[in-house]
């Protein structure tokens, strides 16, 4: 199912906001840990069709990483997660946003670091 421009606009608006907050937190985290913070998906069930849903996993975490930092708006139209990386060209992280549009999963990735190939706009995951 296609993503309408109106839904995409709202998704990008929310993503820009949370990405800015994550970025500020990652800068601080890196200063004290020399590595970036990994964040688990904010929602157990991905939000549908751009409708904002409160995340239920803000207090969850992966081993050796704290749970999500304070985020100003915990009601999102997508599920967000943060992946870290450590490679030949340095360390970085990417913010991944996932939303269901109808029965289709759409993902957007925003990269912070040297591996720019990790950036991609909203893309529908095609079934196998």
């Amino acid at each position: 199912m296609p993503m309408t421009s109106a839904v995409k606009r709202e998704l990008n608006k929310s993503l820009a906001k949370i990405t800015a907050e994550i970025s500020a937190y990652e800068s601080s985290y890196f200063s004290s840990h020399n590595s970036y913070w990994q964040g688990v998906p904010t929602h157990t069930i991905r939000p549908l069709d751009g409708v904002k849903v409160p995340g239920d996993r803000w207090d969850s975490k992966v081993s050796d990483h704290p749970a999500w930092p304070p985020i100003s708006d915990k009601v999102l139209p997508f599920s967000a997660q943060v992946h870290t990386y450590d490679g030949p060209s340095g360390k970085g992280y990417q913010v991944l946003a996932e939303v269901m549009i109808g029965k289709d999963l759409w993902i957007k990735s925003v990269n912070f670091g040297s591996e720019s190939y990790r950036n991609h706009d909203w893309t529908m995951v095609e079934p196998n």
């Binding site: 992966v62 450590d86 490679g87 190939y117 196998n128």
Partner: protein, 247 residues
Amino acid sequence: MPDGFNPDTGGTLTTNLEAYWKMDEESGTRVDSFGTNDLTDNNTVTFNTGKVSNAAQFTLANLESLTVADNASISAGDTNWTWAGWVYLDAKTVSQTFASKWAIVAADREWLVQYDVADDRLHAIYRASATQQDLIANNLGSPSTATWYFIVVWHDATGDTVGIQINNGTANTAAWADGVQDGTGPFYYGVTFGTSVPLGGRVDECGFWRKVLTAQEKTDLYNGGNANTYGPLPVVASDASFTFAWV
């Protein structure tokens, strides 16, 4: 002291070798010992006991993976190629990915090797432009947890076949004239397109060749279940290095 494999009966295991990962590092970048495809560590892949020295240990809940961006040396395409490596499952509660060059969009998918929980089998998928072949390792049967398996998957563009072989046993093969795509997605260990079908287990001693390995080459890599590795070859003394004196 030259580097190579031991055993390498025909002296051909480094011919058309594109990349070889020993997975001995405890964290961070996993070096390509032969080529230039060093792997980035995503979400902190740890280490554990491997077939040879260390293995990369993936924790399923953490979505850990190793990756390198798409490039010509690691792209399958409609060529002769082989991927081979040792894998180990911690549990079989869900499907899991060992290696993949499989993108979000179908047009960029090439191949993957997974454990499929529905079939309870190891399998490989080969993707062409509009079709794909799902080849199941039925000759092995149900894989066990906490057990090392040596998987070899290949595409023979000349003979139009694909194959998957476990532990140097009888391969499962299929006719496949549609070829394999050359996509733009990254190459991954431990996950499919970054977030999907993660692995809880280990991967060790893996390589990618731009050829179909011969039976002898596969036997040498399996090495009677002891595995092989790429590195400095042992020095063999020749007769010329000795001086004899008659007394």
